[in-house]
């Protein structure tokens, strides 16, 4: 028997009981679609986080005050001390390390920003000229904070893109004055739109010199120090240097935490990767269930078509051929089912992508291949037994329909 004839005959017998066939394919395609959509979501979440970190900067090392212990309460809390804050002098001392390319001290505060009658609450970042490069930000108009004295307290500010639009509309913003808290600042530049990164909408920020911000919020501490290492390999050295310099300056107490972007990124990557696998695995169980369904349907098909099998044997079909026919049927069922499932899954991922545009929803290639292979595999595997059963039927009793 030719392959095309085998397939044609098998598809004929599938079309012979359309309801059953459609239900089977539905089960199969839902299984495949579930794997595709769920892994697409997981992968989307993973990429989202990776992108967020990438937009944060490259070769980034972050210093924050306080010591994060892996377990228990920090020793400072136990003894009634609060962690010592990181000061601008601490930041300047970091220049001793040769592995550091540049760094940007960072303060964060919130103040009301007003221009004439327009007024709103904004997040104010205090930093230096280096922030632009470290954080991969770009200017739309004007200049960023000028280089020079880190202690600079001049009354200048850089607006996030949306801030500019809200306060000035289409007017020229550079050179104009705005009121921030109790001080007046001159706008020297506007950032280009950059969307969201790490939960902070850069477009809605106002950036002022770190010295001014310390005055504005009446603090001498820093929220973070962002350090860019000279290269990827230097990250480790930077971490060590930053830690030893700050520990030394803080009288030997390890009251700062130094985290690298890579470490955080890898952790997220691992967690979300595992999550995707787990979710995909759970979805794959539905495929196994679909496989069992196929076995069930094939067994029914064998029972219903006993006479036909007997006839085929009488007409000269060897057992092997009967087995191939049932294999072909199962393969067609799971093949068409998984193609439908892929279409369904991609459509679902596309729709989710439309609803959540910031999430890069895309089923990973390995999941697509795994889902299809599992579908075909279970379909064919679970048809082995029914097919063998059909092939082993005794033609005499089969013809009698017993």
């Amino acid at each position: 028997m030719r392959l095309t004839d085998t397939l044609q005959f098998a598809s004929g017998s599938l079309r012979g009981s359309p309801t059953r066939t459609l239900l089977m394919m539905l089960a199969m395609s839902i299984g495949v679609a579930a794997v595709v959509v769920l892994t697409a979501l997981g992968e989307g979440a993973r990429r989202y986080v990776v992108n967020q970190f990438a937009s944060l900067g490259t070769n980034l090392v972050i210093v924050l005050p306080g010591r994060t212990e892996t377990s228990g309460v920090s020793p400072g809390l136990m003894s009634g001390q609060t962690p010592r804050e990181i000061t601008l002098d601490d930041a300047l001392a970091l220049q001793r390390s040769r592995a550091i390319k540049r760094f940007a001290p960072l303060t964060v505060g919130s103040a009301s920003l007003s221009r004439g009658a327009l007024n709103r609450e904004v997040v104010v970042l205090g930093s230096t000229s280096e922030l632009l490069g470290v954080r991969h930000m770009e200017m739309a108009v004007g200049r960023f904070l000028p280089e020079g004295d880190i202690q600079d307290t001049s009354s200048i500010c850089v607006l996030g893109n949306q801030m500019k639009r809200e306060l000035f509309g289409n007017e020229q913003a550079v050179g104009q004055w705005v009121r921030l808290g109790d001080r007046r600042f001159r706008v020297i530049g506007v950032l280009s739109p950059q969307g969201e990164s790490m939960g902070m909408r850069t477009d809605e920020l106002v950036i002022i010199p770190v010295g001014s911000s310390q005055q504005l919020f009446n603090t001498s501490g820093l929220y973070r120090i962002l350090i860019e290492a000279k290269s990827r390999d230097a990250i480790e050295q930077v971490t060590k240097d930053a830690e030893s310099i700050l520990v030394e300056r803080h009288g030997g107490e390890r009251d700062v935490t130094v985290i690298t972007q890579n470490a955080v990124l890898q952790t997220f990557d691992r967690i979300l990767g595992a999550l995707t696998m787990a979710v995909g695995g759970i979805a794959a169980i539905s495929l196994a269930v679909a496989g069992v369904l196929i076995m069930n349907v094939m067994l029914i098909a064998v029972a219903q078509r006993v006479k036909e099998i007997g006839l085929l044997k009488a007409l000269g079909a060897p057992g092997k051929q009967i087995r191939y026919l049932f294999f072909a049927e199962a393969a067609l069922l799971s093949g068409i089912g998984s193609v439908a499932g892929l279409v369904l899954g991609y459509a679902g991922s596309f729709i989710i992508g439309q609803i959540y545009p910031s999430l890069p929803v895309m089923p990973p290639w390995w999941a697509v291949i795994a889902a299809t292979m599992t579908a075909l595999g279970t379909g064919i595997l679970f048809s082995v037994w029914p097919a063998r059963r059909a092939a082993k039927l005794d033609p005499v009793t089969a013809l009698a329909g017993k």
Partner: protein
């Protein structure tokens, strides 16, 4: 061309051995017209299954066209059935989802014959058996006589040397039954060996050679003068 030598066939029912065929010795030549008669349980159906290679003897030898087919494996048996034996059943055994033409084509599909040749042979046969207009009908749209003619067309499409018919008129009214019988007898002219199993004495009497069976034994084997 067909010879059964000391063929026995026993079935195990529960813990009892039941002999369906006891020590059968029988041989046919090409082009013979044989009827096998007997009451139910006499072993005539087992005999037909044996001749059609659907059943294997428990002991004894089966020679077909001079070759021993007793110990062939499943695939070889299937091949012999495909090429040398045609079956016609009482209940037609047409595949309900296939059209008349597709049913006739089925043995050639199993034999792996190319499509064009299949179509050509089906067309000729359908024409010969007066089924040309019914070629695209499904079995449930055909009358009993038409169904049996489709079945006969299917049994002969591979040009077998033996045609085994098990009560071919059993499900038909008398007029249609005679028609079908004449069609089968017409095949004798093409040199086919026709073996007819029936319990209808009137039909059985038409055969040139009549074998009566009882309790798995051949009771009588009469050659009629033509």
């Amino acid at each position: 061309m067909i010879a059964l030598q000391n063929v026995c066939r026993t079935f195990t029912v529960g813990d009892q051995e039941v002999a369906a065929l006891r020590d059968i010795n029988l041989s046919f030549g090409a082009g013979e017209y044989i009827s096998i008669m007997g009451p139910s349980g006499s072993g005539k159906s087992t005999m037909l299954n044996m001749l059609g290679l659907l059943d294997r003897p428990s002991s004894g030898t089966y020679l077909l066209d001079g070759g021993d087919v007793t110990d062939l494996n499943d695939e070889q048996l299937a091949r012999v059935r495909r090429e040398k034996i045609g079956f016609v059943f009482q209940s037609f055994h047409l595949v309900p989802r296939l059209t008349a033409a597709q049913n006739v084509e089925l043995p050639m599909i199993l034999a792996g014959i190319p499509v064009e040749e299949r179509k050509a042979r089906v067309q000729v046969l359908m024409q010969n058996y007066g089924l040309a207009e019914r070629a695209d009908h499904r079995p449930d749209q055909l009358s009993g006589g038409q169904r049996q003619r489709v079945a006969i067309a299917r049994a002969t499409v591979m040009n077998p040397s033996v045609l085994l018919a098990d009560e071919p008129t059993g499900n038909l009214d008398q007029a249609t039954g005679w028609e079908v019988l004449k069609l089968l007898e017409g095949l004798l002219e093409q040199g086919i060996t026709l073996v007819l199993v029936t319990h209808d004495a009137e039909i059985g009497a038409r055969a040139h050679r009549q074998i009566h069976m009882l309790d798995g034994r051949i009771l009588s084997d009469e050659q009629q003068a033509k």
